[in-house]
């Protein structure tokens, strides 16, 4: 019975994974065949091209998102955040703890509802506030949806730049915030927890279930993430595809071009009140870049949209005083702007 189930799952992986990869590599010709032969739309017409674009991008991103979410789920199953806490509290890290916290924030599936328990959990374990901030900054910025969208729409180079700078931002932001002795601005009950902080070394216990027992749930969760954002992906790509056709070339260049020094702060400030997830915003960003906005400005805008949100701020109110929330968001805003300048200068 156990053996049979194992075989069934192994078989499923051996069949599904290569077929997904084959579908991914031949997607353009398949979509071409579908839109121009089966439907059939003219490959000359704007409408035909738009439909072709739309189908190709949507399917490509769904495949990427599914694979990336499952991969992240797998990493998380074997290296859960409780384990990170034990690592951070028991090992001497010589500054590397900022990197670990930030990197971990990047590879965990992000859910704003879990950021508060995580925050308290870190404080409870006696982890310094700066390291906790490093996690908290990167976690919403670099997540499975953002990575899949970037990979699908901008290619792997831009994705690496985005993910790398998200991690860097967390590390530097966390380090600097940690220097400021901000603990007094935590909520009173969090301060109490902090005073009673104790290292619960070795409390992390690995799950004893086998790989094939855990795999179905991981894959199901991966697919669950796809389902949750599918509508946003479709809407985002549809808006992007429409804008591609109707927004004139160089439309944004006038306001957001490189030689205008205020372009990046302006983009960031415009982004703060916008609350959207990565699925909806990346296709729009892609149009911006195609129509002449520099990539650095676009990345800064994107980071401000997903990383600085009012709902997140109100959640944090439970654990921080307003002043600390202000300092936290202010610092991230400043660093996002600086990163934008840096990229435009490098690229």
């Amino acid at each position: 019975m156990e053996q049979q189930r194992k075989l069934k799952w192994m078989g499923a992986i051996i069949i599904i994974l290569p077929s997904l990869l084959a579908l991914y590599t031949h997607l353009q010709s398949l979509i071409d065949y579908f839109t121009y032969q089966i439907l059939p739309l003219s490959s000359e017409s704007h409408f035909g091209q738009a439909i072709n674009f739309f189908l190709y991008d949507t399917i490509k991103i769904v495949i990427l998102l599914f694979l990336i979410s499952s991969l992240m789920g797998l990493v998380n199953a074997y290296f859960p955040v409780e384990r990170l806490r034990v690592y951070l509290t028991t090992k001497k890290m010589y500054g590397l703890q900022y990197f670990f916290a930030s990197f971990f924030g990047a590879i965990t599936p992000f859910c704003s509802c879990s950021s508060i328990p995580l925050f308290i959990g870190f404080v409870q374990g006696g982890i310094p506030l700066g390291v906790t901030f490093a996690y908290l900054i990167t976690s919403p910025l670099v997540n499975e949806v953002a990575v899949a969208m970037f990979l699908g729409l901008f290619g792997w180079k831009a994705t690496l730049i985005y993910a790398g700078s998200g991690i860097l931002l967390g590390m530097i932001g966390g380090y600097i915030l940690g220097k400021f002795k901000l603990d007094r601005y935590l909520s009173d009950w969090v301060k109490q927890i902090q005073q009673n902080a104790h290292i619960e070394a070795g409390r992390w216990e690995g799950e004893r279930r086998s790989f094939f027992d855990r795999l179905p749930a991981i894959i199901k969760d991966g697919w669950g993430i796809v389902q949750k954002v599918l509508l946003y992906i479709i809407i985002g790509i549809a808006i992007g595809a429409t804008m591609h056709g109707y927004v004139p070339e160089n439309f944004f260049t006038e306001y957001l071009s490189e030689d205008k020094w205020y372009a990046i702060p302006l983009a960031v400030i415009l982004a703060v009140p916008l609350y959207a997830n990565a699925a909806g915003i990346v296709p729009v960003i892609q149009v911006f870049v195609a129509k002449g906005v520099p990539l650095g400005t676009a990345i800064a805008f994107m980071m401000a949209v997903v990383g600085l949100s009012l709902p997140e701020a109100t959640l944090l109110k439970k654990v921080m005083q307003w002043k600390l929330i202000g300092i936290f968001f202010g610092t991230i805003t400043l660093f996002i702007i600086l990163l934008g300048y840096l990229f435009n200068w490098i690229i």
């Binding site: 998380n76 806490r85 509802c113 879990s114 328990p117 995580l118 619960e200 439970k318």
Partner: protein
């Protein structure tokens, strides 16, 4: 049996509560199921990822929604 579902009210937390209720019902055992939404109370269990399932004071599942079968086994 004392069963507690810990969660701040996200979608996964409600689905964990539903599956748990169903598992208890199908097993036909008498259990007291309570949903804990207060963050301060949740933290006393030492979990960092919600939702979590607590049976008789012991955290058995955290950070994910297990299948109906798995919960039945845990019960």
């Amino acid at each position: 049996m004392e069963i507690k579902v810990l969660g701040t009210g996200c979608a996964k937390c409600t689905s964990l509560e539903d599956v748990t209720r169903k598992a208890v019902e199908e097993k036909g055992i008498s259990a007291n199921i309570e949903k804990v939404e207060d963050i301060m109370q949740i933290m006393t269990y030492g979990v960092m990822t919600t939702p979590a399932l607590v049976i008789d004071g012991k955290v058995v599942v955290k950070g994910r929604v297990p299948s109906l079968e798995e919960i039945k086994e845990l019960l």
